[in-house]
């Protein structure tokens, strides 16, 4: 009896697989790898909502990109590399074909970097991913727009060198997520240590980062002048709480732009006051693009999240991520003359992407993003960030835009990219 019902249930489940809804062919297919569950959900959710709302707004306001509707489909990765790869395989051929992927995870980015050249789909990693992929001659399909971790490390060093008047004899400690994400900035920070004459120490924190007692006890012993935090998800708020526990001043702590958002500081309450971090872009919902999102999406009751969460740091990052992708689509449409573009066309769009100040204003992003220009050789486009500080309620800027030193970083990027090209047998394109 049990066996029979089991067999029947199995058959019923299998029959479900046969039917599935179709996707219209005259739409652009926008795949989106998200994590709305798991240890990194507090940070994954606002980003995913920003993307979903911006796409919904473009569909509602303009009827899509140049009149072609955008079909967005989310796939839950839980920040796990193998599930991310599964999601990528699931979505890459759906609809007309995926335009581009943004996995929001360095681990998934590394895995997909091997796959996208074969499938001819660009990989947009805005503010994360492999730092050497800024070299477009080797990494033709990767677009680490707006800044890599090497740029971030360089900007942070520039800032602390400026405020403390030189770093000679100082101590800097990096507390990092023990994954490719956290390890990315180490070579640049080590290299700078020799140049600037500070002592550098890196303390790893194991995934998911709720256990950091040992790391902070070490910090209490060595008393570094600055602590850089390269964490993600629950690790960031835990780090701030541990800093309080060992009495390390929060205003000596600097988070990378993934460790400087509301979900990182709010759980620590008032103790987080004074904590600083990099900002790729400001927070706030007073920009024209937010007015449109609220009007076309939230007033229609179709918002992906809560109304009051619109304008948070990671929400805005999601909006910018979606905007850059759709601008690449728009450029691709112009270049190819096609209405429905796929990955291969969008790569062309990225390589010719140019956002001038006028265009940014037209899009309603004035003040949110700085102008950028992607070329065949430079896939990063812009490498600027500001420092902002948490005042207990909101983020306030404490510095102007700081630009990473391209003359210092570019040779390192090129050397690392050349090593990768040699290992994989890639002949760099001539740009």
């Amino acid at each position: 009896m049990k066996l029979k019902s089991l067999a029947l249930a199995g058959a019923a489940l299998l029959s479900l697989v046969a039917v599935g809804p179709g996707v219209a062919a005259d739409t652009i297919f926008y795949p989106h790898l998200v994590y709305r569950s798991g240890a990194y959900a507090p940070n994954g959710i606002p980003f995913a909502n920003g993307v979903a709302d911006y796409v919904a707004m473009i569909n509602a306001r303009d009827g899509g990109v140049n009149g072609v509707r955008i079909e967005l489909e989310e796939c839950e990765t839980g920040y796990a590399t193998d599930r991310g790869v599964e999601c990528y395989e699931r979505l890459k051929t759906k609809g007309a074909g995926a335009i581009a992927f943004s996995p929001l995870s360095t681990g998934i980015t590394f895995a997909l970097t091997e796959k996208v050249p074969i499938d001819k789909i660009p990989l947009q990693t805005m503010g994360y991913g492999r730092s050497e992929s800024a070299d477009g001659r080797v990494f033709a399909w990767n677009f680490p727009l707006l800044g890599t971790y090497w740029s971030a490390a360089d900007i942070l060093i520039q800032h602390v060198a400026k405020i403390s008047g030189g770093l000679r004899g100082k101590k800097i400690t990096l507390v990092y997520h023990d994954s490719p994400y956290g390890k990315e900035p180490i070579p640049v920070l080590q290299d700078h240590a020799q140049k600037h004459g500070y002592t550098f120490e890196a303390i790893p924190v194991t995934h998911p980062g709720v256990e950091q007692k040992a790391a902070w006890l070490k910090i209490r012993q060595t008393r570094p002048d600055f602590v850089f935090l390269w964490g993600w998800g629950v690790m960031n708020s835990t780090a701030i709480k541990e800093a309080v526990a060992v009495g390390y001043p929060r205003d000596k702590m600097y988070g990378v732009w993934w460790a400087a958002a509301e979900p990182d500081v709010r759980p620590a309450g008032d103790d987080a006051k004074g904590y600083q971090g990099l900002a790729l872009h400001p927070a706030g919902a007073d920009y024209p693009v937010h007015k449109d999102i609220l009007r076309y999406v939230y007033d229609a009751g179709k918002g992906a999240g809560k109304r009051e969460e619109v304008g948070e740091v990671l929400y805005n990052r999601g909006v910018i991520d979606a905007m850059l992708k759709l601008e690449a689509v728009r450029t691709a449409q112009k270049l190819t003359g096609k209405k429905v573009v796929v990955g291969e066309d969008v790569r062309l769009g990225y390589e010719n992407l140019e956002l001038t100040a006028d265009r940014i204003k037209e899009l309603g992003f004035e003040g949110l993003v700085t102008p950028l220009k992607i070329t065949c050789a430079d896939h990063e486009g812009a490498r600027k960030a500001r420092i902002h500080q948490w005042d207990g309620q909101k983020w306030v800027f404490v510095s102007d835009w700081i630009e990473a030193d391209i003359n210092y970083l570019r040779p390192k990027v090129e050397a690392a990219a050349a090593a990768y090209a040699k290992e994989k047998g890639i002949t760099p394109r001539s740009c």
Partner: protein, 354 residues
């Protein structure tokens, strides 16, 4: 009726010692192999091959590895993920540092290195048993996690700690399309299953089972516990190491130590327990249950046209999957393989059960 053995006489030793003695079983396995080797490659799309079948086959190999140790020799191990990692990083380093070696030899040597490490971490099994041994094998897991995260030599000093596999070049034949990769995994899976099946029917396998059932009795009848236990650890780690190489080289292409974390060890343990301890078929069924079912549950609401939010779907996936594990263990503690066995018994009597 369907499974009746009446009229099938075995007239030679070879027939009597065949793996599949029943005509029905022979036809069944031939059909399954034909589907796997001919049917699926022709009809499956890229998604099915790359995202479902390849990981399923690789984890089935790893589950066979653990099943040899846990199901046949009765030694609990929580270090299978570590042995997979050792295999993967050994193959990576061999390919990187000795480029003259053919890739297939790298795979084999990587398996042997994993086997050697497995023997070392299997030594405590001579003195401790059961749950205590599980804790001791946990050391292998932590050791591998630590070594591949902290000793930069293993990852060739890459700044991010993430390494990339070389192309899959087998004596000039490069497997890069999903179908070719599927064939590579299928060939390894068939080979492993065949070897494992024959091994457990041989003297070594029987000595493992004797140790599993009662080690003192086994010792008295002349089985040396040290040889039996350590050979089980060696073979199990060899197979797990091979699966690790495939997981890294064929499935992921680029990986970090997190790909072989303790989660992987637990997943493999669940595969063996749910699939059926002491059964090669059970390893395949368990691997299918643990790898394919969550993906299916994740897509099921969309397939029947129910629109749910991504977060809701993923929470439902966890809840249903978890409750299914519990229910299966209550209904059939001996695993899916036992269910299949009961099914065969029923088919033998059908349609006149008594």
């Amino acid at each position: 009726m369907i499974y009746r053995e009446t009229g099938q006489f075995r007239t030679s030793y070879a027939e009597d010692q065949a793996i599949f003695r029943l005509r029905q079983d022979k036809i069944g396995i031939a059909v399954i192999l034909a589907i796997a080797w001919i049917g699926i490659p022709f009809f499956a799309d890229e998604y099915l091959l790359r995202a479902i079948l390849v990981p399923f086959l690789i984890l089935a190999i790893a589950a066979i590895g653990l099943n040899l140790l846990l199901g046949y020799c009765g030694q609990i191990s929580l270090g299978t993920g570590a042995f997979m990692a050792i295999g993967a990083y050994a193959a990576y380093n061999l390919a990187l540092r000795l480029p003259a070696l053919p890739l297939l030899l790298d795979f084999l040597l990587a398996g042997l290195i994993a086997a050697a490490v497995g023997v070392v971490f299997g030594l405590p099994s001579l003195r401790i048993k059961g749950l205590y041994l599980a804790v001791a094998t946990l050391a292998a897991q932590f050791f591998a996690d630590w070594a591949f995260l902290r000793l930069p030599w293993f990852t060739n000093y890459t700044p991010s700690g993430s390494v990339t596999a070389p192309p899959l070049d087998f004596f000039g034949w490069v497997a890069d399309t999903p179908r070719e990769k599927y064939f590579v995994c299928l060939a390894f899976a068939c080979l492993t299953a065949l070897l494992a099946k024959n091994l457990v029917r041989s003297r070594i396998g029987r000595s493992w089972m004797a140790i599993r059932d009662m080690d003192i009795a086994a010792e008295i009848i002349g089985i040396r516990p040290m040889t039996a236990k350590l050979s089980a650890f060696a073979v199990s780690s060899f197979v797990a190491g091979g699966a690790g190489v495939l997981w890294a080289f064929v499935h992921l292409g680029s990986w970090e130590p997190l790909a072989f974390s303790i989660d992987m060890s637990f997943r493999l343990l669940f595969m063996v327990i749910i699939g059926g301890m002491g059964s090669i078929l059970g390893s395949f069924l368990g691997a299918a249950f643990i790898t394919v079912l969550p993906i299916f549950l994740n897509q099921a609401p969309g397939l029947v046209g129910i629109q749910l939010s991504t977060a809701m779907v993923s929470h439902l996936e966890f809840m249903i999957f978890g409750s299914l594990i519990v229910l299966f263990l209550i209904w059939e503690p001996h695993g899916l393989a036992r269910l299949w066995q009961i099914g065969k018994e029923k088919m033998r009597l059908w349609p006149f059960p008594y």
